[in-house]
């Protein structure tokens, strides 16, 4: 039964992939090898599509794989499978957390966790943006870095930073404007 297999395979990914959407990748490659649902080349396409559409990357991948394998119902089975373990585990964690929230131990652990999360998110944001600001090819020399700087991108970054600080509009306003600017000024050129 294909739907059940889809649910089961993505359930496994949801249960064992620790650390966010891209952690599901090894499971997808494993599925590409073991099943005839998709090839490992298609996993690359899935990553590209996931990254150019809204929503969590893991969910996008499950939906795409489920749909190409078994249509609408397939994509629902794969996505529910992926999400199911998280929902159960997080509800359990929440209950435990509520019980020990006031304890000194939990407080001390979060004292260390909060700056770590700040660092993690900063690093993730940095690695996503860096390739758009500086494009490097071949050997890395100061001259190569200087000529690799994308001035259009730097300018957009600076202007956006100023606007976001000044006007606290909904993030989607800035995202839509940036998409339009990217198209208008051909940012990949």
């Amino acid at each position: 039964m294909l739907y059940l297999r889809l649910f089961y395979e993505f359930f496994k990914a949801g249960l064992f992939a620790v650390g966010g959407g891209l952690a599901t990748l090894p499971f997808l490659y494993d599925m590409a090898e073991k099943t005839s649902w998709f090839t490992s080349d298609m996993v690359m396409d899935m990553i590209a599509i996931s990254e150019s559409t809204p929503g969590p990357i893991g969910i996008n991948m499950a939906t795409y794989a489920g749909f190409t394998t078994a249509g609408v119902l397939g994509s629902i089975c794969a996505t529910v499978g992926l999400v199911f373990p998280s929902v159960v585990i997080i509800i359990m964690v929440y209950k435990i957390l509520e019980k020990f929230k006031g304890s000194q131990l939990v407080q001390s652990v979060f004292y260390g966790l909060r700056p770590a999360v700040t660092g993690l998110i900063a690093a993730a944001g940095f690695s996503a943006v860096y390739p758009c600001i500086v494009r490097l090819s071949g050997t890395i020399t100061p001259a190569a870095i200087l000529s690799g700087i994308q001035w259009k991108a730097v300018l957009l970054f600076a202007v956006l930073y100023f606007l976001i600080k000044k006007y606290k509009k909904h993030p989607i306003v800035y995202i839509a404007a940036s998409a339009a600017i990217g198209i208008l000024f051909q940012f990949t050129a």
């Binding site: 939906t63 749909f67 999360v117 700040t118 993690l120 900063a122 690695s127 998409a179």
Partner: protein, 179 residues
């Protein structure tokens, strides 16, 4: 019922407007969940992120489940998660059915080159808010810098840093308390 629908719609908005994975979702969550709805505080979101990093599954879903459960119990958790997932399901199905070469289109590439920069600025702005809540003294400053540099230089899972930082927090407080 109304609150469940509210959870579904709010998280559908967060899921449908987030480009680029869990970390890019943070500015949306700060706006929709913290500022507009007051379902969680800035610090709680941070704690959920940390837990979401070291529990299995997708961080966006883990965070949605946390906030949904906190607001409205098991049904709330399901409503928030369903909302988070719904836009992806629809958008990806349309693309998989009609636009297999979506990511190759020139217009899409250009739009995303712009969006990626915007997400970077939004994340930078979100990080500044987190900084105020998380980096409170010299020890936490060191933790933040070590994790940032470690993530960029070393090829290890974020889980390692989360567990390490939790341990460090425990040891630091223990040493401080014994003084």
């Amino acid at each position: 019922m109304k609150e469940l629908l509210d959870l579904f719609l709010t998280f559908a908005r967060v899921g449908g407007l987030t480009f680029g994975g869990g970390y890019a979702m943070l500015p949306m969550l700060q706006k929709e969940v913290v500022e507009k709805r007051h379902w969680a505080t800035e610090e709680e979101i941070m704690d959920y992120y940390a837990i979401g990093q070291c529990t299995p599954g997708i961080i966006a879903v883990n965070t949605a489940t946390f906030i949904g459960y906190k607001t409205r119990g098991v049904l709330g958790a399901i409503a928030a998660t369903a909302g988070m997932v719904f836009p992806s399901l629809v958008i990806i199905m349309v693309i998989a059915a009609f636009l297999r070469n979506f990511a190759e289109l020139e217009i899409v590439k250009n739009a995303f080159a712009g969006i990626r920069i915007c997400v970077g600025v939004l994340v930078l702005n979100a990080v500044q808010k987190l900084w105020k809540g998380g980096v409170v003294d010299r020890a936490t400053l060191v933790i933040c810098i070590v994790v940032f540099a470690g993530m960029l230089i070393l090829d290890v899972s974020p889980v390692v840093f989360v567990i390490g930082a939790g341990l460090a927090g425990w040891l630091l407080k223990k040493a401080g308390g014994a003084r």
